[in-house]
């Protein structure tokens, strides 16, 4: 089988390699990797051009990562090849795959045949390093021209590996109030995250703090959901947390069914009391 793996993030190439330890893997990336037999290093991040290159390799199985860009590249290539496609697969074995559906409420089991394009989710895996032969590929320009790229400049906090996360939702009330959650996060050595309205919509926190289906998936020891209602799209990002603490004025909010400890009350008061208590100790 001709397996081609594409991702801008080398972690995904490692995950793909772990699924197929005994098959030859051709990786295509802008980054380096030791988890492929062949690595084609592409010279630019041009989604259309990369997709065309991937399609030209005529893979039986094209695996991509699940970053926003990876999925676009994989899907564009699948369209060019007229192959079926499975996005965000969490498990593959034989010709069966599992993926999360209904915004995080369901798991679907699917049966497929090759050729196919599959985008895979990240997970912690072991994979053996390979003897990687490298070659450089100069891509043609796609039809979409980049005029400007603006980095959003988060503080470089890595939420995906944080052990304690304090996360705020619309219940925090205002941008000014974020400081109460921030103080709590500092007091307990946690990282600050937020729901989609807070990050993408209202811009009270930078967008790289967004946790959930269309943001980051996190797996801390303890996750504080402060003024977050617990819609499935948010839960999809926090299901792997060991303990979930929710603070909400509404004892019927969906988060209540999905948390270990629920403090029914005001989020600001909660933050202030917590800071007092953990500060005292």
């Amino acid at each position: 089988m001709n397996i081609v793996v594409y991702s801008e993030d080398p972690e995904y190439i490692k995950v793909a390699s772990s699924y197929f330890p005994n098959e030859k893997i051709v990786a295509v990336s802008t980054s380096d990797t030791k988890y492929a037999d062949e690595l084609h290093v592409v010279d630019k991040m041009d989604e259309e051009a990369i997709a065309k290159y991937l399609a030209s390799l005529k893979p039986d199985l094209l695996i991509t990562g699940s970053t926003k860009r990876d999925k676009v590249v994989g899907a564009y290539a699948a369209g060019l090849l007229k192959y079926p496609i499975l996005p965000d697969v969490i498990e593959i074995s034989g010709n069966k795959a599992k993926r999360v559906v209904y915004s995080g409420m369901g798991i679907a089991e699917l049966e497929f045949n090759t050729p196919i394009v599959v985008s895979i989710s990240k997970k912690n895996v072991e994979a053996k390093e390979r003897q990687t032969q490298k070659k450089n590929v100069n891509l043609e320009e796609g039809k979409v021209k980049k005029i400007e790229v603006k980095q959003k400049g988060g503080e470089g906090v890595d939420l995906s590996s944080a052990q304690i996360i304090v996360s705020v939702g619309r219940g925090i009330g205002s941008k000014e109030n974020i400081k109460f959650a921030d103080e709590l996060a500092r007091a307990i050595g946690g990282a600050l995250g937020g729901s989609r309205p807070i990050t993408a919509d209202l811009g009270w926190l930078p967008e790289d703090r967004q946790i959930g289906l269309s943001g980051l998936k996190v797996k801390p020891k303890v996750y504080f959901a402060l003024g977050i209602s617990g819609q499935p799209q948010h839960l999809a990002g926090i299901k792997d947390s060991k303990i979930i603490v929710a603070v909400n004025t509404d004892k019927n909010a969906p988060i209540v069914e999905n948390a270990d400890y629920i403090v029914v009350g005001d989020v600001i008061k909660f933050c202030q009391e917590m800071v007092k208590k953990v500060g005292k100790k």
Partner: protein
């Protein structure tokens, strides 16, 4: 300027419930959340640049949801009835219709609330051999040129391309309008073209089961916050997740 908005009719995600080992999908249908932003953007472009805004939906063809899309301001909806669908079969059916319409711009959204894959517009663009701009947060169109701001997680990109093309929009691009009663009544006069599917899916859906993780659900009354926090901290120390 002729614009096509793609939208999907899905089980209302706010009403889906998990009961025991089943996911109850037998709930009222609605237009998938961010697909309304695709419809809204198509209507705004038509209002600004003239031409037609046509909707295409494939899968469930619930008439009430289609009427809502028409009431928002689409001129016509093409409804492709598909009992079973995958991305491949849906894209092929929609591509067939698009080849007849030959629009300047096709607008989809970043993801639907049912399959949540976030790849459909990109697949369709590949299939049609059209350029694609994904995760669009704002656009301006001048003549045949489109300039768009793309929203990626840690960066924003400004890009330019020539029409025709496919774009996918993020929910933040606009606030979809809510049709008035009058618009809803008038929408019944607008055309809906029914199409039967003749492309079979290649991926087989074997089963859907609930994705739940059992939690402890211990409620702490926060009316006396100081006591509540003491209680919580003692639980968290027992769990060994906080010192």
């Amino acid at each position: 300027m002729n614009v096509v908005a793609l939208f999907k009719i899905v089980p209302d995600d706010t009403l889906i419930k998990i009961t025991g080992s089943t996911l109850d999908l037998n709930v009222p249908a609605k237009i998938s959340t961010y697909d309304k932003s695709a419809i809204e953007e198509a209507i705004r472009i038509k209002e600004k640049h003239g031409g037609k805004a046509i909707g295409i939906t494939a899968g469930n063809t619930d008439r009430k949801a289609i009427r809502e899309a028409l009431a928002m301001g689409l001129d016509e909806v093409i409804a492709i009835d598909m009992k079973e669908q995958d991305i491949y079969s849906t894209a092929n059916m929609i591509a067939d219709q698009l080849k007849q319409l030959n629009p300047d711009l096709v607008i989809g959204s970043e993801a639907t609330t049912d399959s949540s894959g976030g790849i459909f517009p990109a697949y369709l663009a590949g299939l049609l051999g059209l350029p694609l701009i994904s995760y669009v947060k704002s656009i301006t169109i001048e003549g045949k040129k489109i300039r768009a701001e793309r929203n990626l997680i840690s960066s924003t990109e400004i890009v330019e391309a020539e029409l025709p093309l496919v774009i996918s929009v993020v929910g933040e691009i606009n606030t979809p309008r809510i049709p008035t009663v009058k618009q809803i009544l008038e929408s019944s006069k607008k055309p809906v073209k029914s199409v039967n599917a003749n492309v079979k899916p290649l991926v087989k859906l074997a089963s859907v089961s609930p994705y739940v993780i059992q939690r402890k659900k211990i409620i702490i009354d926060g009316s006396k916050m100081e006591e509540a926090v003491d209680k919580l901290l003692s639980y968290l120390r027992q769990e060994g997740v906080i010192s």
